[in-house]
């Protein structure tokens, strides 16, 4: 029978119906991922000949090692490393820059403070896609095509994160800054000793979001990386699709897709606790 431990007391058929509904929902969402996984463990013929198998085959190790080492255009391992560097660079860079700019905007009184804040805020309205042609021009002139700095730098400024940290800093009581001042902490010392540890959960939440943002970048890497060695995995998957009459090796592509999902999943699960705390609670 229904337990009394839940927040809402549920009994009998009602409980089973809700569970059934949820299970169907989960299965519905999960089914394509399961199909991709199955496709990554069978042979090419099994996929192209209907009906498609619904249970994993025995080619798991073979397909995955082929994808990792050889891939189609470039080894998936290389693409994973590229993606990792890009996603980490974007996430960490964005956090560092927005922490510092939020710190400046909230705690220092300098001429044009409001103007700078609104300028930053304005960039929220200009996503990468809108400014992609001039950005490409700039990066090309700097000779940053096919390089990590070219992948990372244009995406590193973040109005959203700056705004978020600004809002958080505004909730930190003024007395804390004053107490630190009386204690003899200079501004940067206050920043590192007090503000940074207090923003810990916010940083974690933002890191998860920004890591996935960086990992899922598609258009920008597609534009500036022509060398397969510099491909990132998300665009790399698309590059694996054959053009024209070429023959697509679906098990390898599916194995790559599954591999591409793993790092974000690890980041989300690994930082889940901090992430949720950062979203729901402000520690004061």
């Amino acid at each position: 029978m229904a337990g009394r431990t839940g927040m809402v007391e549920q009994r009998g058929r009602g409980l089973w119906l809700t569970h059934l509904g949820l299970i169907v929902g989960v299965a519905f969402i999960f089914f394509p991922i399961w199909l991709a996984f199955v496709a990554s463990t069978v042979e090419q013929q099994d996929i192209v000949r209907p009906p498609m198998p619904l249970l994993p085959g025995d080619k798991l190790l073979e397909n995955y090692s082929r994808a990792l080492v050889a891939g189609v255009n470039a080894p998936v391992a290389t693409m994973l490393v590229n993606s990792l560097i890009m996603a980490l660079g974007i996430a960490i860079g964005k956090i560092v820059i927005s922490l510092l700019s939020a710190f400046a905007i909230v705690y220092f009184r300098f001429p044009g403070r409001k103007v700078f804040f609104w300028l930053i805020f304005l960039t929220l309205m200009l996503p990468v896609e809108v400014r992609i042609v001039p950005t490409f021009e700039v990066i090309a002139n700097f000779g940053m095509l096919n390089s990590y700095s070219g992948l990372i730098l244009p995406l590193i400024a973040s109005a959203t994160a700056t705004f978020l940290f600004r809002q958080f800093f505004l909730t930190v009581p003024d007395e804390l800054a004053e107490a630190a001042r009386v204690d003899g902490a200079r501004p940067m010392r206050f920043f590192f000793d007090i503000l940074l540890p207090m923003s810990r959960t916010n940083i974690a939440a933002l890191f998860v979001i920004l890591f996935i943002y960086g990992w899922n970048q598609y258009l920008w890497p597609l534009l500036i990386t022509t060398d397969p060695e510099m491909n990132t995995i998300v665009m790399g998957i698309k590059q694996m699709f054959p053009s024209g009459d070429d023959f697509a090796h679906w098990p390898t592509i599916m194995a790559t897709s599954i591999l591409a999902m793993i790092p974000p999943v690890i980041v989300v699960i690994g930082m889940q606790k901090l992430f949720i705390r950062g979203l729901v609670e402000s520690e004061k």
Binding site: E175, L176, E178, A179, A180, V182, D183, A185, R189
Partner: protein
């Protein structure tokens, strides 16, 4: 130890003057309480001494040295904030040690100073806890500990007890007083609570709209208020004010403390009894005079409590009457020295 001198200290935000020139010489080891209603500028005055607020004009001197343009950390002061301002991610020990760490005090000395402060404040069992794991009173003690370990010349308290419940407030009040006596550190204490001011102060500064209306020992201020505002603010329940014309005493108003009024059956000045509050040891009787002004009488518990609606005559001795002119300034004030 140290003396503190304010010389016509003024503060204005833009064109608004918030403090109109306050002067006081604070002796070494003296406990000065700045008291006044909210918005009177008492916190601003304290923050100017701390260096958290710039001084618009006038001088702030600590031990004789002009500190107007000196950073808070170099003024040799320590401050206790109303909301404690403890660093939430640091343990109690780290909270107290932070200032010393920045001052590059050697580690063994930090540990020793924090330990002895913790012992003094009975915080020893909590040194490794985070502030959020402490009760309000304990947090208050940590904030005090943070001030003590720095061994400052001047303690500054900004309404340190107003976030505590009534019982704890009384207890902490006694502790602060005892601690300040033991340490002998010159202290400046801001509060809006006149009971705190009366009990803690060696001398108090009664602030009203940016002006120090009166500076003096608590009992002197109580017995001999310089202005109508001070007479009304210090003392609970407050002084009764009656239009001087109503009792044939000329212009302005007169003030009589609730304990100095007796109720009788008949007399020249009468009022209607409203409700009465029997507090056990004493009874507060609230009356309404014929011009509508409220009058409170404090009488001993043994006396009969008049019924609501009856009319009683009020009488008092001339010696207890305080006369104020139209500007609220005291007239014919008895000659009493300002300093004890």
């Amino acid at each position: 130890m140290a003396t503190l001198t304010l010389n016509t200290v003024k503060k204005s935000f833009g064109k608004t003057d918030v403090i109109h020139g306050v002067s006081i010489d604070v002796d070494d080891g003296e406990f000065i309480v700045i008291v006044g209603p909210s918005g009177c500028g008492k916190s601003t005055l304290l923050r100017m001494v701390a260096g958290l607020e710039t001084v618009s004009s006038g001088e702030v001197r600590i031990s004789g040295a002009l500190v107007n343009d000196v950073e808070p950390m170099d003024r040799d002061i320590a401050m206790v904030f109303q909301n404690y301002a403890l660093y939430p991610h640091m343990s109690v020990f780290d909270n107290m040690a932070y200032g010393l760490k920045i001052a590059k005090v050697p580690k063994p000395e930090i540990a020793e100073r924090v330990q002895s402060a913790a012992k003094l404040l009975q915080l020893e069992p909590y040194l490794q806890r985070k502030p959020r794991e402490l009760s309000g009173g304990q947090r208050q003690r940590v904030a005090m500990g943070r001030a003590i370990v720095r061994k400052p010349s001047v303690f500054l308290f900004d309404e340190p007890l107003s976030n505590l419940d009534a019982k704890l407030r009384v207890q902490m009040r006694l502790e602060i007083k005892a601690l300040q006596r033991d340490l002998g550190v010159t202290s400046l204490y801001v509060t809006h609570d006149q009971v705190e001011a009366m009990t803690l102060a060696d001398r108090m500064i009664v602030m009203n709209a940016g002006v120090a209306d009166q500076i003096g020992a608590p009992l002197d201020v109580y017995a001999n208020p310089a202005t109508e505002f001070v007479a009304g603010f210090i003392g609970s329940p407050p002084t009764n004010f009656i239009d001087a014309g109503m009792v044939g005493a000329g212009t302005g108003r007169i003030g009589v403390r609730p304990e100095h009024i007796q109720l009788s059956e008949a007399g020249p000045f009468t009022a209607t009894v409203g409700y009465s509050e029997a507090l056990g040891a004493e009874t507060l009787v609230h009356l309404r005079a014929s011009d509508g002004s409220q009058i409170t009488v404090r009488q001993d518990a043994g006396l009969p409590i008049p019924e609501q609606g009856v009319t009683r005559a009020l009488s008092w001795q001339d010696a207890h009457v305080m006369r104020f002119d139209e500007q609220g300034m005291r007239q014919q004030r008895a000659k009493v020295a300002d300093r004890p």
